[in-house]
């Protein structure tokens, strides 16, 4: 009986510390979530403005000759994989890696500590990922695509649907798809549409990478908050069950002791 009580007490203590940990991590995630979604929306707005222009430019006949619009015969895919910096975010990282496994690719460029560790590359953190980093990656990717090293470039990131739901998805980046919007002929292009498109592609690719990183980070934080909330609830449930067991065992021990004392005094 005494051993049982001791065991229960140590389990309660361990679950209590887990509860504290999940609460603290949940609070940290809650405080980060607003800034993360703000940054995501800003990056999305910028990318939206640039992709409107790129859609318009790709719709013009001259731009069809751009090296960034050429479809290659082979299908060698360069895949940028964005995972989280840390674990304890439910199925966030596992979902990304599962989708990556199901996709055939030639090369992987990881972003996020978990992804970099998995693919054995130097660490690039998602939380502190800057636009300058995105731009230098974009330059490399665009050059490789134009040289024919890859035939397609895509990004595997996590779409932020709401605070409760996020889903991994693959977004194609290169080659650029012909836009449906026609070029506005009242606008003067300096020097011409094709030159503007070719100089803009790196900036566009960088902005797509940056926006995907910001969106994935917001998804990671939201997933962590949700995971910590449910872990906290489970820990609380377990605590109340264990406390009940502990009190019963303690009560049983006291009753037994009293019974033994009474029995001893009677004899």
């Amino acid at each position: 009986m005494g051993a049982d009580i001791k065991k229960l007490r140590s389990r309660i203590k361990s679950i209590d510390s887990t509860l504290h940990l999940t609460k603290a991590m949940g609070l940290v995630a809650s405080s980060k979530i607003r800034r993360a979604t703000d940054n995501m929306n800003k990056a999305k707005e910028y990318t939206g403005s640039l992709s409107d222009v790129v859609n318009m430019l790709t719709g013009c006949g001259e731009c069809a000759k751009s090296p960034y619009m050429q479809k290659h015969e082979q299908d060698r895919l360069c895949l940028l994989v964005i995972a989280g910096d840390r674990g304890l975010a439910g199925g966030y990282n596992a979902n990304v890696f599962r989708m990556e496994k199901e996709t055939s690719k030639e090369k992987i460029i990881p972003i996020g500590k978990r992804a970099c560790e998995r693919y054995g590359e130097s660490i690039r953190l998602v939380e502190t990922f800057s636009y300058e980093q995105a731009l230098s990656m974009a330059k490399e990717i665009c050059d490789d695509f134009a040289n024919g090293t890859f035939d397609r470039v895509a990004i595997l990131c996590t779409k932020y649907i709401s605070i409760m739901s996020q889903e991994p998805q693959i977004r194609p980046i290169l080659p650029l798809v012909q836009g449906k919007q026609s070029v506005n002929h009242t606008v003067l292009f300096e020097p011409d549409e094709a030159t503007i498109l070719n100089s803009l592609v790196r900036e566009y690719v960088a902005s797509v990478i940056y926006a995907a990183v910001r969106e994935s980070y917001a998804s990671e934080v939201a997933a962590r908050r949700f995971a910590m909330d449910s872990a906290g609830k489970n820990a609380e449930e377990m605590m109340s069950r264990l406390k009940l067991q502990y009190n019963r065992a303690r009560q049983g021990a006291i009753t037994q002791e009293i019974t033994e004392i009474v029995a001893g005094s009677d004899t």
Binding site: K42, S49, Y131, T186, E203, S207
Partner: protein, 88 residues
């Protein structure tokens, strides 16, 4: 003095949104200035020092590594991920 609305946007949000007199920067075809009433126009921006003449005649300067300048009737937009104000 005639003015026009200038919006400068970056991936980290809006940098500038005010009425100005003139903006000078380097486009694909060389240095250019945009003033009120400019024809609708689009060019990619080359690395340069960008000068913005404000309504109070002061001049703000910044460094740009690249981007896109779009001039439309209602506003002029500079989209750049590398726009940095010079220290005063």
């Amino acid at each position: 003095m005639k003015t026009f609305k200038l919006v400068i946007s970056s991936p980290n949000g809006l940098i500038f949104d005010e009425d100005v007199v003139k903006i000078v920067l380097r486009g694909d075809g060389g240095d250019l200035a945009v003033m009120a009433g400019h024809v609708p126009f689009m060019t990619s921006v080359k690395p340069c020092q960008c000068k913005i003449e404000m309504v109070d005649e002061s001049v703000k300067t910044a460094h740009v590594e690249g981007g896109l300048l779009t001039v439309a009737a209602e506003k002029t937009t500079l989209l750049s991920g590398s726009f940095k104000w010079d220290k005063a």
